[in-house]
């Protein structure tokens, strides 16, 4: 995993945005009920290779993730198997309540075509300028690597930074020097 680590280490101020996800509003359309989104997003579940997010009626998935505060999104990691892992992933910033019918109505903020390296954990660096002020993220997984009926995602991780935070560790108390 050193490649993934060095990629994220390059931008040291990028953090895993897991803590800023507003879990009450997280939704996933077309997920299988036994293999739900938590398997791919939640700490612990996403590390487990046996637990995947799987699609249900066909191979597409639509994931809606709202955040508790405004963030900038730098890169994402999508991990899956070589055959059933996702291929084309479209990201929409700040679009509420999308459905499969309107994914083609407006252009995505960014599109990523995942290579086998990405599926092993290499982060996909996004167009940072498009994700400067993100309140919610919609991830549309359009197809998978082999074109099978079910798409399986093992892990989804988002890396970025928050907009309005002050790094408390960086603040030094003004003392009499």
């Amino acid at each position: 995993m050193s490649a993934a680590e060095s990629a994220t280490a390059i931008q040291r101020n990028q953090v895993d945005l897991l803590d800023f996800i507003d879990w009450s509003g997280v939704e996933c359309l077309n997920q299988s009920s036994s293999h739900s989104l938590s398997n791919a997003l939640k700490q612990g579940y996403r590390e487990d290779e046996g637990l995947n997010l799987e699609s249900d009626a066909d191979e597409q998935l639509l994931i809606y993730i709202p955040f508790t505060q405004v963030i900038k999104l730098h890169s994402i990691v999508v991990m899956g198997s070589e055959e059933d892992g996702p291929k084309t992933v479209k990201l929409f910033a700040n679009r509420e309540h999308m459905g499969f019918s309107n994914v083609s109505d407006f252009p995505p903020s960014d599109t990523a075509v995942l290579s086998p390296d990405n599926l092993k954990g290499k982060p996909v660096v996004l167009k940072y300028v498009k994700f400067q002020n993100v309140r919610s993220l919609t991830i549309f997984i359009e197809d998978n690597q082999s074109g099978s009926e079910i798409t399986k995602v093992q892990k989804i991780a988002l890396y970025g930074s928050t907009v309005e935070t002050t790094d408390m560790k960086g603040l030094k108390k003004i003392e009499d020097h």
Partner: protein, 402 residues
Amino acid sequence: MVLEATMICIDNSEWMRNGDYAPSRFQAQADAVNLICGAKTQSNPENTVGVLTMAGKGVRVLVTPTSDLGKILACMHGLEIGGEMNLAAGIQVAQLALKHRQNKKQQQRIIVFAGSPVMHDKKALEMIGKKLKKNSVALDIVNFGEDDEGKTEKLEALLAAVNNNDTSHIVHVPAGPTALSDVLISTPIFTGDGEGGSGFAASAAAAAAGGVSGFEFGVDPNLDPELALALRVSMEEERARQEAAAKQAAEEASKEEKGGEEQDATMTERASEGASEADNKKIEIADDDDTSLQQALAMSMDEPTSSQDLQDTEMSDAAAEDPELALALQLSVQDSTKDSSSQADVSKLLADQSFVSSILASLPGVDPNDPSVKEVLASMQNQSEPQQKQDEDKAPKKEEEK
């Protein structure tokens, strides 16, 4: 009480003129629609219901999802029968109407009344079903009226394609003396997957069956909806609290395996926390049938040696004073269950002198000939106050290991 937006698809085709459902198929359908709208809005006031017709000149939305019952009832008037039902188009328009609902937090549901023959083939219906499932829309199908070749099969296939975790249902209503609405009342379409709506359904069923005033809690929901709602909510809360309490008592009864003494100590300690709380706990113990008490007694008989290993806690000290604790427990149980006939067995059991002394004899560190024990046994016969017992528990800390 699920928050839901529902679209009802009505079949107003020519086949609905038939009178095999009294008074006519169409009228029976209209009654059923009225009842469903009422049930949905009652089970959660934020629910919305919309209506569209599938036959006639084409699919037409009469009312977009709204919580205003009057609007829905009004639009059912003056509906005309004619044309042929277009099931696929009807479902798709319903899906579109739901997509544009105002409150996006509502779950989406479509209820279809399929009275006339289904023209589409199975494949097309399955595609529609899959699309509904993909967009997490639930579907309820009411199969009545015409029963031609393959209609049931097609509708079952549609249901299978949509169904996700049993949120979708199909009901087959044969022609007969019972009205369509009456048959529907007992189905999951009405009862909302087995929760909430039972209050309304119960009262509606009672009224339909000709019962006098079969309202839950003896309050007419139409006359005083807030009171009925408040009563229903407090009933559910009470039930939930009792279930939680019963579960807690059962857990504590089966959790400790170190010894029945500690079990008794736990239960008695709880009883000694305060009068009112003690009452609650007594009721819990009483309500939990005899099983947990029997378990405690059985455990104390089975594991007499394990009490030696108890930790240095006050509880262990208290646990060493088994006879008084056990008796206090028994007394508190006795007091609370004086009036309850079902608990008479337990009382009798405990009042049985020989049974109690046999238990006491098996407990370590207890000598039935010990004067204090004898005294306590005697006082138990007189049914002394439980408070006295509690005081006795707290005061003495003497070692009784012999």
